[in-house]
């Protein structure tokens, strides 16, 4: 099965995105801790998208697709912004970040730590949207 929702480039939408993902993950049988981690990963991905790619432009939309098949949860986030491969982001160095008073740069690390697999497919002529694919097995 697969379900999807659309949201705009406004951080106010994060709550709606979380509710959607949370209810689906729970329905598929993930534990409360699993649900929390999955929801967090999607929140981080969408926060980055809204802030960096869409630059808080609420006229821009993105799509969150949730699918579950044979014990595997697949979440895809599709956007029409500039391509940005989160897998190229290095792991954060906490002490360095504190010295630099940096508030960001943790989201990608959280996504990697909470999901089993993270893949990124930038848009191309045949696929007009960038696609971030997050996978988690129901153990």
């Amino acid at each position: 099965m697969q379900e999807r929702m659309y949201a705009s480039g406004d951080t106010q939408e994060l709550e709606r995105v979380r509710h959607f993902v949370e209810s689906k993950a729970r329905e598929f049988g993930f534990t409360e801790q699993g649900v929390y981690k999955i929801t967090l990963a999607v929140d981080e991905a969408c926060s980055n998208l809204i802030r960096h790619s869409y630059q808080h432009d609420s006229s821009k939309e993105f799509c969150v697709e949730v699918g579950f098949d044979e014990g595997i949860l697949v979440i895809e986030i599709l956007d029409s912004g500039a391509a940005f491969d989160p897998l190229n982001v290095p792991a954060p160095n906490l002490r360095e970040y504190a010295e630099q008073h940096r508030r960001g740069g943790f989201g990608v690390h959280i996504i990697r730590m909470t999901m089993d697999d993270v893949e990124y497919f930038p848009s191309d002529p045949a696929h007009p949207f960038n696609r971030l694919k997050l996978t988690k097995k129901l153990n």
Binding site: T11, Q12, L14, E15, R18, E32, Q33, Y36, K37, L40, D43, E44, S47, I50, R51, P92, L94, R95, Y97, A98, E99, H101, R102, R103, G104, F106, G107, H109, I110, M113, T114
Partner: protein, 114 residues
Amino acid sequence: MNKFSLEQKSNDRAEVIYLNGFLDAHTAPQLETAISIVISQGKNRIIVNFNNLEYISSAGLGVFMVFIEEVRANSGDIKLAGMKPKVFTVFDLLGFPMLFDIVDTEEEAFAKFN
């Protein structure tokens, strides 16, 4: 609406900020403003009480990163108290316990300032 609110209490030992609800990229600026006002008043001993915080994303954690060096340079600290296990998980994932003083209760945080 993202439900988040904060309250503050101050005494001569420390400023306590109580967080309620959901702290994410939408609501984190409220906390950042509150802490920057506290620091601008020359108060560098800050306790953040997480008892009623249900959710945090990295945008919330980032707020503490912005100020931690500054308050420590002024002989203060930001102590984090009373996190629910699911909230602590997020801090733990990023290695925050290495950099921040995270304690079980507000009283413990006060004691650490003495």
